[in-house]
Each structure stands twice: as structure tokens, then as C-alpha cells.
Symmetry: C2
Subunit: 430 residues, 2 copies
């Protein structure tokens, strides 16, 4: 038996581990990347690294929700359609301004939406139910309805009390969170750092995107796809190009890149083929291989190694396997680094929308898309699911997780779906 | 009756129109913003402005999905556990390389995953089922199983034929679409231009985010929130700051800004209050007001005007109304400008997760969040739904659309939910 064969056989010894075990092993080395301060103008989709606490009550004062007249409700207790009650309008107050003095019985203040209720007033009569008139340079207002104390008044602190934690750290900053940051005076906000994720493609067969197709070759699509997945997960892509076939050049390139990044992804080169250099690179790097075979399809050869607390993800060169491997193992590590409190993709119980008759001895992750019907959530395969089919990925927003077994699955079966474009997440993989 | 009153009364004349009519009116003026060419490295979440067509079949040649030996299946027809068949291994072919000559009967080629099947071969035996040996400097391979023609061969064009439209224009570029662009050799791609959306806040009560809280005042949160919503929708924010109260200054600022942007948003100033300048600004601009009152809550005062084919969105100053008004009326206009084929938020039939007992004469949009239970999709109110409550928005990823009527709604009721963080969209509002 020649040397190459011995290596191949050695590689055949790989022991597949269950998906959940693989995720657990990887996440043991996932770490928080620390914080940085960013301007509120650049905080979208960053992860809060501090709780947002109400630095004042909301509203900070008794506030009018409408344009109208602030008055004492008691003054209207005799009002009726036959008995108009007239008030002296002593001043008007716009939002952002305050009344100059408390009102007395029989007085009203013309008040705008969002303005502070003058002292002494306890309700607001909307313009629509009031008649106004001027007499001798004085303004009057007449009302024919009874008002209740507190009517059309938003009480100070009724929405939020001072000191309430409104959003917890670890939360994605969406437009609503950003509004809160502005409300409570955060011109800058502490967020989790985004990891720099290094990326190499491997494969002699790979042409660059601007090269003409050549016999036996295909264009490199994985690197572009993974770059987009890294961005979607919140990482910063550092693309190092294609690894050469030569071991020493390859080893050196990986070593240099690994020093510059927070984690490193390679696509391809992890199988048992003669040209799959990654296993030997891990060995020479003295990286600890956490696993090199997973009981799943596609992506069984996905390999993750660790060195000095940093992770190296050896994703398959097969586009679908690469895609799935990233979302299962790399995504939560990026999320954890960024400080996301719930770093795993949200996994839901959905209804299978189409038959998937092919049984599989291993857990299968079928690329799918979520759709809805009358209160039900369904997930259907996005297209052909041969593991090499790149075209299916365009429609994918979920992975259908089908347990291994001897039977296929039928439309209507309960299945688990992993949501890929949902920012909710969950705290555990299961 | 004084002048101000007359204006107010005139404004009271506003006729509420149904939400659907309002959307239709706005979308009559929504237009596609044209295309631009971007690098594949910067195409994430842009909108395809050209179909992606397969410029070659996929795979472009008969391909091996595994490492193994390519051979003629016919040569194995006598093979069995008692009858090993031996092949002369004439060469090895890695992915990206080609065999130097067609194989003959009795010959095999060692082949790597992704490599082209040599001419003359019609199946691939995986390494795992083959024994190899060297004799007199020649390589041999022995197999004890029968192979079938086509076994472990991915046929040329089996995934995609030359000329197939794989992704239609108007689609959001996700990681899978990006992979396709790379596969078919798009170093640049034609995408829809992103609109520049101008933004003004109005309101004397508004403090900047870095100002200390003052009596009667609140910090400006709408501008920051809307900026994040514009970004989420795919627009480019151009923030002009706070409008002054003075009409002439205000009018000039709006006129100048309007000339620089593709559409303009103002928040606040559209009500019937004395300080609500927007209606008069529209008038002086000679803009056509499409509507200034909508039969909905919150956001009934949402005003949209048009001038020279450009839209001015007068959103409410109330945070929730502002948020909802943007998502219903501005979002689809931004999407249409960017070239999205399905410019409206996806609307689904969901199950109400919690009671919402308060009846409302008008259609109500309650901020909510989507959750799932055993194949069901539920939507629950995100918190208190007083129209001024900003805190609720942080948890919002959907709007619950409750029709107007005399009764409230109970958990378990079928309701419509508008998904705010879903890139699927739909072609019509209904």
C-alpha cells in the first residue's frame, strides 16, 4: 500500500459525531469579543453590550395626546347640550413649552399635542368638541360635554418608570431600539465588536468569477456565498483568496492569516481525497481537531479545529454542505463573539409543505423556505436537494431538519425548521 | 372666529380614506429609480435589475460527487464477494484537471470529488469499496461489487440547463443568489439604485440626543427611528435635522431639501394644531395632497403629497404613528424605487396570541411579534399599545392589522399580520 493510500485509510477512521455534540464542542470555544462604542448613527443591527435603562420616566411629564384645551374636569360637571360652560382661555402652550402659571377654576389653556399639561388642569378637551370666541381681546372656549379627571392626559411615567430596564444587552438594535437610545440620550452606545472572519477557498478546479469557463473547471462560488453569510451573521469578511495546492505555501498562508483574524474559514480540502490538505495543516499547526466527521447530510466532512482559543472552520467544498456547515457551526460563534444573547438560529416546529420521500440514515438538513397558510407555518424544500445544487440556495430562508431513519417524510408531517433570516434567535441549539 | 380657528376648522374637514385606498394613491407615484452596476463584493441585499440566466449547464461536465475510481460499469458485471475484478489505474485526475485520454475496458482512473468523469467511464466506485495495490510500478484497483451505469455520476446539465432563468430581476441578493452570480461569472451585477430619502423632524419640544432633558421637552427619537427604518427598507438616509418653527425658514429648508432627494419624509407637523406647518408648506409648494387623513389608528393624520412626480411623506410626530405610517406608505415606495418585484411587506393569516379587548371603529395596526407553536404561527401585541409608547417598538417585528368594528379580539382569533423583517414581500398590498 502506497503512502497516499495509508493517509486515505487513516482519514477513513473518522468517527461521525451527532450534530448536537458538534455544536456543543464548537461553542465551548466561542467567546465574547468585547465591546466598542459606536455613534447612534451607525448602530443599526449591532448588538447592545449594555442594558438600556430608562434615565427618566416616560412621559417625563403629564402630557396631552391631542390638540385641545386643558382645564379642570370639575368645572364641566354641569355641562350638557343645553348647558354650555364657558372658560377663559388664558394662554396657549405648544409642545416643548410650559404654561406660565397654574390654571384656576373657570380657566383653560389652549394646548398642543405633546405639550405639558399645565398645573391645576386635569383633563384635555379636544378642539373638535369646543367652540371658541373672542371678546374684548380675550379668548373664550365653550364646551357642552362633561369631562372626566385624567381624560386625554398621558400620565407622567405611565409608559415607563425611571430605572426600568427597557432592552437587555445582547439584543439586536432595530429601529425601535434605536428610538429608545435617542429617547434616553445615548449619542453613542456600547455594542459588541464584530469578529473579523478570515476566508480561504481551496480547489484547483476553481476559476475566479471574471475568468472564462474552462474544461473540467468551475467558478469559485463558495467564497462569495460564505462572504455573504458572514455579513448576514454580523461578521467582517477578510478574504484571502484561493489556497495553492502546494502544502508549504498553503500552510504558510493559513498560519499568516490565522494570526490576523478572530476565526478562520476554509472551504474545501477537508475530505479524504489526495488533494485535501486541510487535515495535515491542522496537524502541523498543532491545532486540536474538535471533530472531522458529523452524522449529518450534507456536510458530513465539516471539520472544526481550535488553536490558542481561536477556531478554524474547515467547511466542505460542496456548496450546499458549505452553506449548511456555516449556518450550524460558524453562525453561532459569530453571534456569540458579537455579544448576541441568543446566538442560535431560531428553530421552530413547522409543517412539511411537500413530500420528501427519500429516507436518510443521518440527520438531513434540507434547504427550504417558510410559507404560511391560515394560521399554519409550513416549510418546503427549496428545490432539488442534491448536495451540489447551488441554484436551490437562492430560495432558501430555512433549513428543514429531518431526523435520520428508515422512512421518508410526507407533506403534513411535523418537522423542525431552522430560520436563517430571523433576528430573534434562541439561547440553546436544541 | 379668528384666523387660526378658521384654518383649524378647514383642517377638520379632512376626509379619512381607507388604508388600501391610501396605499393605492401613493403607489401611483412610486417609480423605479433605474439601475447601476455594482461589484459582486458589494451586492448583498441589493435588488437584481437583470435576470440571472445560466450561461452554461450545471454541472458544465459529467462530474464525480466523490473521491473514487471512474470506470466502465459493464466491466463489473461479474464482480462479487467471491469474484474480485481488477482494473489498471491509468492515471489520477483531481478536480479542475482532465484525464489525458479516454479509458478502455479494464482500465480505471483515480478521480477526486468534483473532477470531470473521463471519457469512456460511466460510473465512479468510491474509495471505500476499492482495494488498491502497486505491482511493477503500475497501480491496480480491485472491486468486489457490481456498479451501475451512471452510478455516482452527476450528469452534465442535470442541475441546470444552459439558458434557464435561475433568479428573476426584482429579487433580493441573498448568499445563495450571490453564489449564483459567482457561478455564472458576474464580477459585477446590475442592481436597482437605492433612493436617497430626505428626513426632517419637526417640533419645538424636541431636544437633540446629546442634550440634557428640559421641562416640557423630550428628545428627538423619531428621526433616529425612521433613519433605521429607511436603512432597513434599502434607502439611503439624508438627515436634514430639525425644522424651525418659522414658516418661511421652514418652507425654504423643505424646498431646498426636496430638490436634492428622491423622496422626503417629515415627522410631525401634520396635525391640526397651530404649530403644524406642513399643510401650509404643501400648499405653498403647490404639491398635490393625495390624502391627509386615513381611517386607521395610529397614524390617522399621515399625509402624503406629490410634486413633479416626487413624494413627500408627512408622517405623524407620534412615534408609533410615525413607525406605522412609514411601514405602510413609505416602505413600498422605497422598495419599488429599488426595483423590488414584490414591494409590499408580506401579510399572513396568523393566530392572535393574546387578547386585544379594546374595540376600535377604525382599522388598527398593533405592534406585535411573531412566534410559533407546533406548526402554528401566532402574533401577539408587543406591549402596551398606547399610540405614544416608544418602548414597545423594540420588540416589534410585525404589525397586527385589526379591522375596525364594535368588538375586541380574543386570543385564538384569526388575524392578519404584516411581517416587517421578512425579505419575501408580496406583489400587492392586499
Amino acid at each position: 500500500m502506497c503512502d497516499t493510500e495509508r493517509i486515505v485509510d487513516m482519514k477513513f477512521d473518522r468517527k461521525p459525531i451527532p450534530v448536537t455534540d458538534a455544536v456543543t464542542k464548537v461553542m465551548e470555544y466561542a467567546r465574547f469579543g468585547g465591546t466598542e462604542e459606536v455613534s447612534i448613527n451607525e448602530c443599526e443591527n449591532r448588538i447592545l453590550a449594555e442594558d438600556i435603562t430608562a434615565s427618566h420616566p416616560i412621559p417625563p411629564f403629564h402630557k396631552s395626546p391631542y390638540d385641545g384645551f386643558a382645564l379642570k374636569a370639575e368645572d364641566t360637571k354641569e355641562a350638557g347640550s343645553d348647558n354650555p360652560v364657558t372658560f377663559h382661555v388664558i394662554e396657549q402652550v405648544g409642545a416643548g413649552h410650559r404654561a406660565s402659571r397654574p390654571i384656576e377654576s373657570g380657566e383653560a389653556v389652549r394646548i398642543m399635542t405633546g405639550a405639558e399639561i399645565p398645573e391645576g388642569a386635569d383633563c384635555v378637551a379636544m378642539f373638535e368638541i369646543c367652540q371658541t370666541q373672542e371678546e374684548n381681546g380675550k379668548s373664550y372656549m365653550t364646551i357642552k360635554r362633561q369631562m372626566e379627571e385624567g381624560q386625554n392626559v398621558i400620565e407622567k411615567g405611565s409608559e415607563t418608570s425611571h430605572g426600568d430596564v427597557l432592552v437587555e444587552k445582547g439584543t439586536n438594535i432595530n429601529p425601535g431600539v434605536k428610538a429608545l437610545l435617542a429617547t434616553f440620550g445615548y449619542p453613542t452606545v456600547k455594542v459588541g465588536r464584530r469578529p473579523v472572519v478570515g476566508l480561504f477557498a481551496t480547489g484547483t478546479e476553481l476559476l475566479d468569477v471574471d475568468e472564462k469557463l474552462q474544461p473540467g473547471k468551475i467558478r469559485n462560488s463558495n467564497a462569495y456565498m460564505i462572504a455573504a453569510q458572514i455579513e448576514r451573521a454580523g461578521g467582517i469578511v477578510k478574504y484571502y483568496g484561493k489556497l495553492e495546492d502546494d502544502f508549504d505555501t498553503c500552510y504558510q498562508a493559513v498560519t499568516n492569516a490565522f494570526a490576523e483574524v478572530d476565526m478562520l474559514i476554509t472551504t474545501g480540502g477537508v475530505s479524504v481525497g489526495d488533494f485535501d490538505l486541510m487535515p495535515e495543516i491542522y496537524e502541523k499547526l498543532e491545532a486540536q481537531v474538535l471533530f472531522n466527521k458529523i452524522a449529518m447530510r450534507p456536510g458530513s466532512v465539516t471539520t472544526v479545529a481550535e488553536k490558542d482559543g481561536k477556531l478554524l472552520f474547515g467547511l466542505s467544498g460542496n456548496p450546499s454542505a458549505c452553506y449548511v456547515g456555516f449556518e450550524l457551526y460558524t453562525f453561532p460563534v459569530i453571534q456569540r463573539y458579537s455579544g448576541v444573547a441568543k446566538p442560535y438560529h431560531r428553530k421552530i416546529a413547522a409543517i412539511l409543505g411537500k413530500d420528501f420521500p427519500k429516507p436518510n440514515p443521518f440527520t438531513r438538513f434540507v434547504r427550504g423556505y417558510i410559507h404560511y397558510e391560515e394560521g399554519k407555518v409550513l416549510v418546503s424544500p427549496a428545490g432539488m436537494d442534491k448536495s451540489a445544487v447551488v441554484t436551490t440556495l437562492a430560495n432558501t430562508d430555512a433549513l428543514i431538519m429531518l431526523p435520520g431513519g428508515t422512512r421518508g417524510f410526507a407533506a403534513g408531517n411535523a418537522v423542525q425548521a431552522i430560520l436563517l433570516e430571523d433576528s430573534t434567535g434562541q439561547a440553546t441549539f436544541e
